[in-house]
Symmetry: C2
Subunit: 723 residues, 2 copies
């Protein structure tokens, strides 16, 4: 790829971004778009009132502005913590951390490495003729242009050491900072049900005890006499849920009919296609049906007592009580009485409640195999897409396209833009599939499911975007060679630099465009507008979405991986990556403040993924460096780079020992014991205990939702439970 093709790509995308941002700054000030661009704020009563008032028209509203940037920039971390929760702040820290890393990298790369690369003469490019700059290959800015055996490569060597050190320093401080946020959050929040409860699976119900509920009660009363509070056995509610869903739909139908009061809709002929037969009052018929449905719901609810699953949420009087039940093996047979941390009540994912130990284990195996299969099979479309970047191959394959492809601008668009777009489309299918896989593994909370899905999507992204492109672009069969550990640096050193141009354009096209479309939210806007057109004014109740961490984090980390890997190979990528992270920082700050509303609070459990991914990127970069120095015939530099990945892995191991336990459990001192002692015997604690007893009832079972005959005509279930 030559410089001008890259500039075309940058130009197109910069234009697109500018368009998106302008569009956003206009659209966000229109009153009817508020449920799309600020659904989070709509929960605020004050904001709703103001929104209702400002429906008058003014010209100012049509002019683009930059005020939202300042609004997004202003709040401090502490303010964000109190309003947005820990997860959103930790998510923003990914950008802060990346900006720090790529500021250092960019400084070294652009001001030190790039000139050295450009002044080399390995590729025999005439650098004196600056008028020819646009037609020069991007390779002339890469390490490929440094002469073999040149002393200048020791500058690259030093840069790698300095950069690795800086990244490790940032990683360490960030890990420490987020750990301290976790502790602070724990200490400052009021008691919450999931801190006092555990989920018990594999309850062995013996034939002489009447029910699972009794077994649980006897067991915990006997073994935790002083701390046991209550329990809620899980029941198979899939049928009840579908009955309630149907009843709700019918209720909506009826209320719509009543609202409109249109006789032509209300009285319909009974016969074929509604054309023949006598006219009937549909409303009456529907109400009859609804009554029948309500009766079914009532019956199903009564029969649920027998539909016990051998699993239960057990609540304790103190945090320590729950921690003891969690950490100390309960039964002699470790496949029985398995305890795990209870999730927050609202994020329990009821449908996937497989309980048997062996069953869950087999599910995990199957999911593992399916994930690996998906990752491998996905190579096929990627290989096809990769063909599009090589214009001459394309011409040879489709000779009839030759004339079109010879037009300079089309050729440049195809090499610079299309492959990334297709890749992006394919990729967007993956997160939902991985979510499905993760929920099949038997996790019962959305946070756990998203966390493991995030791992899967990350592995997928790194393998299919990075490695598949690197290795198939040059020689796909070399995957086999990757199995030979000694050859890895050599193979990577040959393959990775070749794809520099592709990845630079990938950052610009995929990265920048994704960000600006994230800001613009065109898809939700379209859905919302269509919905409004169809159903009229009534559907102004818009639920704020939650950030799809499992889809966003891997994408962001991929750009970090690209930036770190190409840091010394092709420093030209660094400004684009830095722009991506700066841009992303502002945009996501704006989005978490206005759009997203978290479904749960995992208190920053996503951070370790960022840490490990960065360590992986570093080691990959260092491994490639070993290979490149070998190829460049500076074998002493290659030898002296070998300690670097070892040191990096040792650093990672130290961080793991130092911080990881904070992301799994809360320590006894300060967290458990102190809070327990402070709260013991207070009135608020008694109140909380009363609430705790019913916290883990299934929403379709608990008293809050069983209504009397009179208000049965309002929806039976809250949205989240019927989803």
């Amino acid at each position: 790829m030559i410089l001008s093709a890259l500039l075309v790509s940058v130009g197109i995308n910069l234009g697109l971004c500018f368009l998106n941002v302008t569009l956003y700054s206009v659209l966000r000030r229109q009153p009817f778009t508020v449920p799309v661009y600020a659904p989070r704020l709509l929960a605020n009563e004050e904001f709703r009132r103001r929104w209702g008032r400002h429906h008058h028209y003014s010209l100012e509203r049509l002019l683009p502005s930059t005020g939202w940037i300042m609004t997004a920039w202003k709040p401090t971390d502490q303010e964000l913590l109190s309003t947005l929760g820990v997860d959103a702040v930790v998510f923003m820290r990914i950008f802060v951390f990346s900006v720090k890393v790529f500021s250092v990298a960019g400084f070294i790369g652009i001001f030190i490495l790039l000139p050295i690369n450009y002044l080399g003469s390995q590729l025999e490019i005439d650098i004196s003729d600056f008028t020819n700059l646009p037609n020069q290959s991007i390779e002339s800015f890469s390490i490929a242009n440094v002469n073999n055996g040149s002393k200048w490569l020791w500058v690259h060597f030093s840069a790698i050491y300095v950069f690795s050190g800086a990244v490790c320093y940032f990683l360490y401080t960030e890990f420490g900072y987020i750990s301290s946020i976790r502790v602070e959050h724990y200490n400052s929040t009021p008691p919450q049900p999931h801190q006092f409860s555990v989920l018990v699976r594999g309850i062995p119900v013996s034939p002489d005890e009447s029910s699972c509920s009794d077994t649980v009660e006897n067991f915990f009363k006997e073994n935790h006499p002083s701390t046991y509070l209550s329990h809620a056995v899980v029941r198979r509610t899939r049928e009840l849920q579908s009955l309630i869903r149907d009843a709700n739909a019918m209720y909506n139908k009826i209320s719509n009919l009543k609202l409109k009061d249109l006789p032509e809709q209300r009285f319909v002929r009974e016969g074929l296609l509604g054309i023949f037969g006598p006219k009937v009052d549909v409303l009456f018929k529907y109400e009859e049906k609804l009554k029948e449905m309500e009766e079914n719901v009532r019956k199903e609810r009564a029969s649920l007592i027998e539909k016990e699953v051998p699993a239960a949420f057990v609540s304790f009087k103190t945090r320590l009580g729950a921690a003891v039940a969690l950490h100390i093996q309960q039964g002699i047979n470790p496949t029985e009485w398995i305890t795990e941390r209870a999730p927050e009540p609202q994020e329990i994912h009821w449908p996937f409640f497989t309980t048997s130990f062996v069953q869950r284990w087999l599910c995990q195996l199957v999911v593992f195999i399916a994930t690996v299969a998906l990752i491998i099979l996905f190579l096929i479309p990627v290989v096809l897409v990769q063909g599009l970047t090589h214009l001459d191959e394309l011409k040879a394959l489709f000779p009839f396209l030759k004339d079109i492809l010879d037009v300079a601008i089309i050729g440049q668009v195809i090499t610079g833009y299309l492959p990334s777009l297709i890749l992006y489309l394919f990729q967007s299918l993956v997160p939902p599939i991985m979510m499905l896989f993760s929920s099949m593994q038997g996790f019962i909370s959305t946070s756990q499911t998203e966390l493991t899905a995030c791992h899967k999507v990350l592995m997928f992204t790194v393998w299919n975007v990075f490695f598949a492109n690197v290795l198939s672009g040059s020689f796909l069969d070399q995957v086999n060679v990757l199995l030979e550990p000694k050859e890895i640096p050599h193979v990577l050193a040959q393959a990775v630099p070749v794809q520099a141009a592709f990845f630079i354009s990938y950052v610009v096209t995929s990265g920048w465009t994704t960000l600006s479309s994230e800001l613009c939210r065109l898809k939700p806007l379209l859905y919302y507008s269509l919905g409004r057109l169809c159903s009229g004014e009534s559907s102004s109740e818009v639920e704020a979405p939650s950030i799809p961490y499992h889809a966003e984090i891997p994408t962001i980390l991929l750009f970090g991986l690209l930036g770190v890997t190409y840091f010394f190979l092709s420093p030209l990528i660094l400004p684009f990556v830095l722009v991506y992270f700066c841009f992303g920082y502002i945009i996501f700050r704006n989005q978490v403040m206005n759009v997203y509303y978290p479904k749960y609070e995992s208190v920053g459990k996503f951070w370790p993924i960022v840490h490990y991914s960065t360590i992986f990127s570093l080691v990959l970069m260092q491994t490639i460096a070993i290979g490149v120095f070998g190829l460049k015939k500076v074998s002493s530099a290659a030898t002296w780079t070998i300690p670097l990945p070892i040191l990096t892995l040792l650093f990672n191991e130290y961080c793991r020992k130092r911080f990881m336990s904070m992301f799994k459990d809360y320590p006894l001192e300060q967290c458990l014991a102190k809070k327990d002692q402070e709260e013991q015997g207070t009135a608020s604690m008694h109140e909380f205990h009363d609430k705790l007893v019913t916290a883990y009832q299934h929403p379709s079972l608990s008293a809050r939702f069983s209504r009397s005959r009179d208000d049965l005509h309002s929806p039976l279930l809250p949205r989240s439970a019927s989803a």
Copy 2:
């Protein structure tokens, strides 16, 4: 190797074994050998009295007998459990398990596989001439003789499946049996200090608190108010110990002088070499010195209060209290307040008490590197030894030995006996080195140290005895190829069968001889006799040794590995392995009943090593099978063998989940809670708590050992503490 050479080797070793056993059966009945052959029984008062009585001479005592075999055979597992403890019984279960496995293997191998192998014609050996049998190569009994592509190989295929299934079944039942023994042992033993205590390391001593002891007390009183009982801070006692050791030595000197009362020893000239100068009363001089030493000990003891190490043993009132402190992270910083299971007080290894978190981590790294280095460097002597098995190479190397080597019997001894003997000598150096490495890792109890040393020795043995012989015997450079996963079955399938003859003779020479010399205990007998000759009758106090698990278990497991690996390759090995295990069963039963006295009770923690090692052997055998079927051109059999290692590993994973937790912790139900509740408030519990307070004092500090002036002339320390 031809059959006759093997038979010579078997003959020699059978003779040696017979000699050893006969010698033992005579020697053990001589009164003066009792401290060598039954030191364990000497602890029994009744036995001592009988022993004292039977010192009269009789002819019967000089006749060999087999009575000891019956005595060793009789007791049931339950009887052994009550007298010998769990570890000894679990150790014996290794033999029981192996005998079961190799009975099945031997039946299949000798009656099904061996005839099929011998009737093949791949090696073009004339099998009709039975008179030539002794000169036939051992290879004609191996799978190498089955024709390529023969249908008979499917019999081998089925045999592998049946055998793998049988081994897994035995593994599962054995793991379950030993788990149940653990639970039973926990439930039946009276309260023990280590069940109620934890070791805390990394205590952060703040400058405003006066001492480490206060910090510990404040911390645990605050966080475990209801269960905390007491604590004992660890102190640097190395100097005190050496002072006490010197004082004890001096005391012994004085009492020896007093006992003998020989003036020529007592009055010695003071000058050069004791020849010139005036005569001096040495006794008086020594007593003066002893007084001075006692003073030093007293001073050092007083100053110890300041020599605190930031580590402490903390005891709790209940087992549950200790379990909570153990399982729940104590401090916010996970490198502080690190808790670990307290060992039994008598098995604490005081000298190696490194405490800083980072220091211990670095020690572990260094030990890891040292272990790997040792394992790799050890290849050199093994390669040299390996040369001795190839007689023709030896002749070429040392032409002057040709005449000697041409003598048939010498050649046979060298090929059949010498290599194994040298290997055995080299190997015997390894366990002490590995013990040193393990104690450098910062484990503070003998059991933990031996357990990790056992892992190390096992890895060492498997790599250096099995792999190094297999790969260096054929092609040492192929170690590199081993790094290529796809090639492993192929490489092993070529290399492993070649060494069958060597390993058969290894089982016979090394295995059988080690066992019979274990029975005979010639080395301890020699030391004891020499010691008795030098010091007269007085040293009849012999301490019973403990079983060196870390040296014995890897050796035993190596023979299991050989048997499993060569099961279908060369079934001729199976009877020899079976004899080894049967013989070992009787001998070790006799030894654990008469000789060894356990230093500690790990309650069968060694079993998982046996399990994992057997799984490794199985997978190795199956991998070789895949390669062999490929080489033998029955590729469908090779393909259908691939699921077998996967299934075996899944089985292993299931066992790990099902049983392993029992070997790490004790479950709450039945074990902790029930025992706590039963014992709560009883008088014996109060008594136990009083003992518990001083249980973890350093032996040289605790009140029990500080003597008044009068009895200072008896040893200051018990043996175990001054060791």
